[in-house]
Symmetry: C2
């Protein structure tokens, strides 16, 4: 799944009492589901069913919320917002797709843009003025926005046109409001410059005006926060805090202000359940030079076990104390990541007399460099994931040709197999399950409306992943139902050759993913084909399935690939209206034999263990080295997964991983 062309669910919810009770009854260990999508809380050996129920509930809750998000509500809701703006003396207001933490996946309570307009894309913004409004989206969403939004109320525009639209539509002296929690400082500056050009004024609001008129707004999630065990993290929080405090001091700062929830989760070895499919807790933190931390969090999410885990160097304070704490840093130098910090934080620091040092959050890189415990964890998680995948593809091979499998039943079946695995907590994203032409839609999510039966002679694409306590997985396979066409095989083999070229890469220290990207594309380029998404995104350790700072992409990046980084390897090919192909394994950057003069070289260790559909491979198009890689990979899949399967599945896997082209 690609970070550049992907939507994600954004639903996080309170759980109803009956689900909590059923989870409590099923789980062996004590369960304390208060509110929040609290999969992480379902602890102990008996948790699988409870976790599954919670996951099911999330899917249903998503549906309930989605029912509130309707195109036809746009006019009425825009009118409500306009009345509120008039009450406040504002001529307009900016509604971005963002939460107060700049999370990639915006929780339900912060889905203001979706509530207002009906738009369900993962990125965009709306500006509402007294007599007109526009919705700004990127190229992925130019069609979708017209499906989901009342274009008479919200004029669709390119996200590149925000400043131009402001210039054309705001009049001199008018006031455009913005919520400083929902924009980075950079974004605020761009808006301010655009308003200035128009002679208008950008003004900060106190309390979001959308919230004032959103009567049925979901509550903020309150999932209990849990310690993440040292056997999975491999490094005590105290050591991480000391390391990062050193980095902060070395950069000339006294403290680091953190709003990135994944950075805080990594730093404190904690996990939450406030955000769908990602075990994050909504909170803020200040890391001080003495390596102590102020953690600003709703105390209802904190129990004694967490307090014991955090120790007395981590002071737990309510989120409302953040403003005072930032003001208290007067005279200090405070590091803030301009790519993720809400403008509100920068404003409070500067008003309070602190010096703001704008630098990339050092935790992003530290988190990306997995330690041996994390790498071994992800290897183990991938073995369990591989067992579920073998069961699924065996089941699929038996049933799909009968015409009895559709996209949604496949999703359910794959989830059920995964839930059987130890340490399973959740999916890592909503499964992409695309039959035939639906496979060509890169950010497809199957629904009752679009659900399609897997048809003979068609390709089926499934991109899925799971959150295990010891690791996060993400894997895509395209498989043929029945006999594929010659074109299917040609295209699949080109995608596979690109995947293999990257998998076989060996490279010196300092090489970026941007440099390697071409390896995955050249077999397609040679035929005038391409795929319009990145080749690889970083993956967390029981954290985000998308994480930085590294990637493998045609987009320039100055970030070198370093040992310990996990990244996806997922070239694809999509024929609109016909079929989609994507071949995705996760890989870890690992040291290779040193080069000449002992210079460091690295290579990629493939983590994902799942068969590649042999019927889609044309060995005549491959080099001996590529066939060697393929056959060795299949041997390894069978060696590692085979012994964990029952006999019929094992036999199926043996055939599915038999050598080819030899």
């Amino acid at each position: 799944m690609d970070i550049q062309a992907d939507t994600q669910p954004y639903f996080s919810s309170g759980l109803p009492a009956d689900v909590i009770e059923r989870a409590r009854a099923v789980a062996a260990a004590p369960v304390s589901l208060v509110t929040g999508v609290d999969v992480a809380l379902v602890e102990g050996a008996g948790d699988r069913t409870a976790a599954g129920e919670v996951a099911d509930y999330v899917t249903r809750a998503a549906g309930d919320f989605a029912a509130e998000i309707e195109t036809e509500n746009g006019a009425e809701r825009a009118a409500l917002l306009r009345a509120e703006l008039a009450r406040r003396g504002l001529d307009g207001f900016v509604v971005p797709m963002a939460d107060e933490y700049q999370n990639e996946f915006v929780p339900r309570h912060a889905q203001r843009l979706a509530w207002l307009s009906g738009f369900l894309g993962s990125a965009g913004s709306i500006i509402v003025l007294a007599d007109k409004a526009a919705i700004f989206v990127d190229g992925r969403y130019t069609l979708q926005v017209r499906d989901q939004v009342d274009v008479d109320v919200f004029e669709p525009r390119s996200y590149l046109d925000v400043a131009k639209w402001i210039g054309e539509n705001l009049e001199s002296g008018q006031k455009l409001g913005y919520d400083p929690w929902l924009h980075t400082e950079t974004a605020v500056k761009a808006l301010r410059d655009a308003c200035g050009e128009a002679g208008a004024e950008l003004v900060v609001v106190d309390g979001n005006p959308v919230d004032a008129v959103w009567t049925n707004r979901p509550p903020r999630p309150l999932a209990r926060i849990v310690p993440h065990d040292i056997r999975y993290t491999g490094e005590p929080s105290a050591d991480k805090r000391a390391r990062m405090a050193e980095a902060v001091k070395k950069a000339g700062a006294d403290a680091l202000a953190l709003s990135a929830t994944d950075s805080i989760a990594w730093l404190l070895n904690i996990r939450g359940a406030d955000v769908a499919r990602t075990p994050l807790a909504l909170c803020y933190a200040l890391l001080h030079g003495d390596s102590s931390v102020d953690l600003f969090v709703d105390e209802r999410k904190v129990d004694a076990a967490l307090r014991a885990h955090l120790g007395n160097q981590v002071r737990i304070e309510p989120e409302t104390a953040l403003a005072g704490a930032l003001a208290g840093l007067s005279g200090k130098s405070v590091m803030v990541d301009p790519a993720s910090a809400p403008a509100w934080i920068v404003d409070r620091l500067e008003e309070g007399g602190a010096t703001v040092l704008r630098k990339t959050d050092p935790i992003q890189k530290a988190k990306a460099l997995k330690n041996p415990a994390e790498l071994n964890g992800t290897r183990a998680a991938h073995r369990r994931d591989g067992v579920a995948l073998a069961k699924f593809f065996c089941w699929l091979a038996e049933n799909a040709p009968k015409g009895t499998v559709d996209e949604l039943s496949a999703v359910a079946r794959l989830q059920a197999f995964r839930q059987e695995g130890d340490l399973f907590r959740d999916l890592s994203f909503d499964t992409i399950s695309g039959a035939g032409p639906n496979g060509a839609i890169v950010h497809y999510r199957s629904s009752e409306k679009t659900n399609r039966t897997l048809g003979l002679g068609e390709l089926y694409l499934v991109d899925s992943g799971a959150q295990y306590l010891d690791g996060t997985t993400d894997v895509t396979r395209a498989v043929a139902v029945g006999t594929p066409t010659a074109e299917h095989r040609d295209r699949f083999t080109r995608v596979l050759r690109g995947h293999i070229a990257l998998a076989m890469a060996r490279f010196p220290k300092g090489t970026t993913g941007h440099q390697l990207d071409v390896l995955a594309r050249m077999p397609l380029w040679q035929a005038g084909l391409d795929f319009k998404h990145g080749t690889g995104h970083g993956v967390g350790s029981y954290l985000g399935v998308h994480e930085g700072p590294h990637s493998i992409s045609p987009r320039p990046s100055g970030i070198a690939l370093e040992p310990g980084m996990i990244v996806s390897n997922e070239p694809g090919y999509y024929k609109e209206g016909a079929y989609g192909i994507r071949m995705e394994n996760l890989v870890a950057v690992v040291p290779s034999e040193p080069g000449e003069d002992d210079s460091p070289f690295y290579e990629l260790e493939t983590l994902t263990l799942a068969p590649i559909d042999r019927t889609l491979i044309d060995p005549a198009l491959m080099t001996p080295a590529e066939l060697d890689w393929l056959n060795a990979y299949h041997r390894r899949v069978f060696a590692e997964i085979g012994p964990r399967l029952d006999e019929p599945t094992r036999a199926w896997l043996e055939a599915a991983t038999a050598p080819i082209g030899v």
Copy 2:
């Protein structure tokens, strides 16, 4: 030859009367060699010998100048400079390796750093204070600087340490002088910031203090400027001026100030001979919005033919008029390229009340996109170059195994073969001719001191090129003398596979050379090997053998490869103390079949036509597709070059290009 790790000759000279006379006598057309390395002036059918004599003279003049450049002069010359600084009330002075045009290759009269210190590298700078001095060089020159410079006078430091050294050594209130002609604005700002940190002051000088004490300073070159014929340029200067004037106006400027001599040569379709190995004329120009030009040039270089060529839209003025012209742009917006313009120009514009628009010179890109006349010209030039190369390698194959060839005699022989070709004007750079271990020195130039006989069982590397009126060439081959070792063949085949991977690349519009670079390296990386220079540099059309803005390099570049660009494809491998391998052809970016949805795809047309040593190739290490490329290339070399050779050479070439691995 690689732009990142290369030195160039920097010698331009007045020609003595006897050479002029001999050239005049030999050439069929009138020759007017006044001063300057005036190869371009030797016109007409009978020019080959004269051109060769002039080229020989350049080599000798280089030697004469080099004799003035001695390590042991450093102390005395530093003392002279210090006395001059004291007279002017300066505490120090910066001496960069730069001329007043920021030319890549610095003419002799501007070789102040070499004269002062003895250092002959292509990049570096010196700061002289009253009681100490330092020379700042990059990693290529850390050894060389200690050979060539008296380190008791000039302390060798990394070029990264300039600001630090200023901070440590300049005292508060002291004045450090700089010559605004020799630094870009960016460079001045860095110096000014460093001085500011130290409490010192950076002050501009009026007249370079080195010149005041350099008694035997060579004169500025005065080579006659000649029109470059429309059959070679393919586009009248008036059209180029109109196109570029449009670009300047579109960018919001009223005029473009030009100091880049290659931009001016392209814009006006003129060539000069003021700079070694590159047909450039030292001059400045202002392009106005009405597409007229003020050309500031020593009028001794201008004759009636040139005036007729330039027409009345190009006003010829003395260089001394530049200051007044810049001051006269008061109230106008003037585009200046901050990467190449001397600070002096920016200062005059700003003092005069013009608005300076800092933008990349649009001519750099326009010049890189060769038109059909230029592409056909370079193809023709490469055929003639290929004839010379076939004769040379045939001669080498016959003689080198006898032990009768050394690096310098090979250089002379290759030059002689090239001089036989039509439209030959000069070499495009000093030939790199490295036998055995000398081949491992990337920027090697053979001299009487280092000259080495080509030995049996050794590799010989020759990197050379020529300036023809219709195109500039640059080619490298490594050949085995006698029987190569298994290691030679392994390494050579890896380099060749990288070369072929790049040569076979097909890629969509928007792809940069930075993205393709990995293709040329992966076969080496797989064995833990690499080469520490770029893979490709742009090449001009009877202009610089190095030109931008594109390249193929591990260094990030935002410049996409576009049809018409010429670029080198030159991976290599160097084993210190043993041998060097480089496999270089020039290629042109050309349109390929459109991709799916008619999206533009490009490919690389190989221009260079010279055999690749078959004895160094191990076909067992190559894929069928790679062997197909190699055999097709050799077929083409023989088809295009064979018919132009005498029978013995033709027979040799036929064998040298016979199919391999089939």
